[in-house]
């Protein structure tokens, strides 16, 4: 069940996006499941259609869902080994790098350095 908290500091589109991604990740929404049309979900949740459309768009960019014209929006089968949550984290990271005006090579280098650091910490810990 999707729950939108109007008083939450997290914007509604983000609440919606995270909850759908979590449902995909836990297979509460298995591949092929159809999501409600934008307008219907917007009416059910008392949101503007644009808000729902934005959440769907970002899920689509994260390759978690796909929209096929009149067939509606459905959950994509997993082509990547990345979980839905990991794909969303990558997308969040990419968006933040763009906001900070970090170039792509610098962003990739920063990720590699961060991953190397995490691996090193793990090796020391074990």
């Amino acid at each position: 069940m999707i729950v939108i908290e109007p008083k939450s500091p997290t914007p509604p589109f983000e609440q919606l996006r995270r909850q759908i991604a979590a449902m995909i990740d836990t297979e509460q929404l298995p591949p092929g499941s159809k999501l409600p049309p934008v307008r219907r979900l917007a009416e059910d949740l008392g949101l503007a259609p644009n808000t729902v459309a934005r959440a769907y768009r970002e899920l689509e960019q994260a390759e978690l869902i796909e929209t096929r014209g009149r067939h509606g929006t459905s959950i994509r089968s997993r082509g990547s080994s990345l979980s839905a949550a990991a794909q969303l984290a990558v997308q969040d990271f990419a968006r933040r790098m763009r906001e900070l005006e970090v170039s792509s090579p610098d962003a990739v280098a920063a990720v590699q350095a961060a991953l190397a650091s995490v691996h090193h910490d793990r090796a020391v810990a074990s």
């Binding site: 999707i2 729950v3 908290e5 159809k34 999501l35 059910d44 949740l45 008392g46 949101l47």
Partner: protein, 317 residues
């Protein structure tokens, strides 16, 4: 005409039974409790007055629908030319009024369902399903298909009657009589086809109608009320299919009556009578099967039970 007025009053009274039988607060509480048990939901204090208000508006709407459609049937019957000669006394008026009153009842139920949602505070949480509910979540296969099958059967019987009358099969019919008798059968067949299309459209609209809710209880109650409206809507093609099958059978029986034992006419009368009995039995069995499948709780089994099981499984593991 007197019989038609009596039938109209009886139809409106029958539609008013839930409204009239629960006028006191205590009677209403009992009726509501009984309905809650039937749909398998709890009546928590936060939801009870709102469910009661929705059911009450539905009851008023169905009475209004039955009355308007029944009176329309009465007017049509009054304007239609009365049969004379050998057919004097043969009247379709009561049947017309019953069918139209039932259609009005269902239109009232559908209109109430399409105009109602639970109100929600601006600041309260908003919940919704992540899947789009479909017709099969609310209606069983029998509920979805029997109306269509009944109509297909009616079309077959009507076509057979049309061929028999048009070709004067076996030379046993009075052509004029056949043409007159087939009129109401043709009207009922066309009406049944139009109403099947309307029922399909209404079914889709009711299923897609928004369900604003703040709690799971509200959403479950909305599902239960939606399911009730859908079952009402699907009963229209079933009833019309029955009538549209019955009328051509009646026409064949009436046309062939009066011939001696062993004659073709006599065989046709037997076939028409047997067809009527078989059809009535089939509808009786269908009603029993539908009833035993607890159609009131199908929405729960389809939309809520898997979720409850998943939650229980999750808690256990």
């Amino acid at each position: 005409m007197t019989i038609a007025i009596v039938v109209l009053v009886a139809c409106v009274l029958a539609a008013s039974i839930p409204l009239l039988s629960a006028r006191s607060p205590r009677a209403r509480a009992t009726a509501l409790d009984s309905y809650a048990r039937r749909v398998g939901l709890e009546l928590v204090p936060e939801i009870e007055p709102r469910v009661e208000a929705r059911l009450r508006r539905r009851e008023r709407s169905v009475v209004l629908g039955a009355a308007i459609a029944g009176v329309t049937g009465l007017v049509i019957a009054a304007l239609a030319p009365a049969p004379g000669g050998a057919l004097a006394g043969l009247s379709y008026e009561p049947l017309l009024i019953i069918v139209l009153a039932w259609c009005g009842y269902v239109i009232g139920a559908a209109a109430a369902s399409l105009s109602e949602t639970f109100d929600r505070d601006q600041d309260s949480p908003r919940i919704a399903r992540a899947i789009q509910p479909q017709v099969h979540h609310y209606l069983s296969d029998a509920g979805r298909w029997t109306g269509r099958i009944a109509l297909a059967l009616a079309l077959v019987v009507y076509s057979a009657a049309l061929i028999v009358v048009a070709t004067n099969f076996g030379g046993i019919f009075d052509g004029m009589l056949g043409t007159y008798l087939l009129g109401p059968a043709t009207v009922s067949m066309l009406l049944a086809l139009v109403l099947l299309v309307l029922a399909e459209v209404m079914t889709t609209r009711i299923v897609r109608h928004p369900q604003p809710a703040s709690t799971s209880t509200e959403l479950a109650w909305d599902d239960a009320l939606k399911s009730l409206a859908l079952r009402d809507v699907r009963s229209v093609p079933l009833l019309l299919g029955f009538v549209a099958t019955l009328l051509p059978l009646g026409v064949l029986g009436a046309l062939a009556t009066g011939h001696g034992p062993g004659s073709l006419g006599n065989v046709l009368v037997g076939l028409a009578g047997g067809g009527f009995i078989a059809l009535s039995l089939a509808y009786g069995v269908l009603a029993l099967v539908s009833w035993s499948g607890k159609p009131d709780q199908r929405y729960w089994r389809q939309l809520w039970a898997p979720r409850s099981e998943a939650a229980t499984g999750g808690a256990a593991s």
